[in-house]
Symmetry: C2
Subunit: 127 residues, 2 copies
């Protein structure tokens, strides 16, 4: 069964955003992106107010890039857009889980998830 | 099928930790805690080097509490320990997913997950 894409009006999106605590680096919440079908965690990123409002009003995953200091529409260059199906918020309102229909690999390595290896695997890698 | 609890030697744990990038607040990585059975995301926290080494060497989830500036064994007071079954690391080695067998509610509200409500639900709540 397909779930609908989640889209809110600008007004509603602002009401939601006003309730969250953007308390991490550069005034962000932590955003955990999870695949709606496999339930795998795909990546972890950050959203500031603007990134969350864009996500809520378009239904496409937008993040705030802390390193590049800009809004980032996932899939903008690769075409691997992440369609938002549901969003959960945690008890203290500083983190969200974004459930997505993933149109292609989310990771720049080409893997479907950024969490593609076990933690012990890093030991064998060049630093 | 039960999976084994993950325990590393102190030496191995240090090798692993030396490869990660503790680049968030108070020299931490972001730790996403996920239920091994339901695959629900249970909570998001942080781990510094010491919290990750304790987690790796005991098989019990330890976090670094940024607000309280201390190591935090999940379940220490409630008894709701979170047993580590697997740990994944992301492409740039600054975030991990900890898959746990959850012995009881992880959230201080008594919910099994901290992400127990939809994002739009916050609008109706008192600020």
């Amino acid at each position: 069964m397909d779930k609908e894409i989640v889209i809110f009006s600008r007004e509603r999106a602002e009401e939601i955003v006003n309730k969250l605590r953007f308390r991490y680096e550069q005034n962000t919440v932590i955003a955990v992106v999870q695949d709606i079908d496999t339930k795998d965690v795909l990546m972890v990123g950050h959203m500031n107010r603007e990134a969350l409002i864009k996500t809520l009003t378009t239904g496409y995953l937008h993040l705030w890039s802390i390193s590049r200091n800009k809004i980032w529409l996932k899939g903008e260059t690769s075409g691997n857009y992440q369609i938002v199906v549901d969003i959960k918020v945690d008890c203290d309102k500083d983190a969200i889980v974004v459930l997505v229909r993933s149109l292609g690999p989310i990771c720049h390595t080409g893997n479907r998830t950024c969490f593609y290896r076990n933690i012990a695997d890093v030991v064998a890698e060049p630093s």
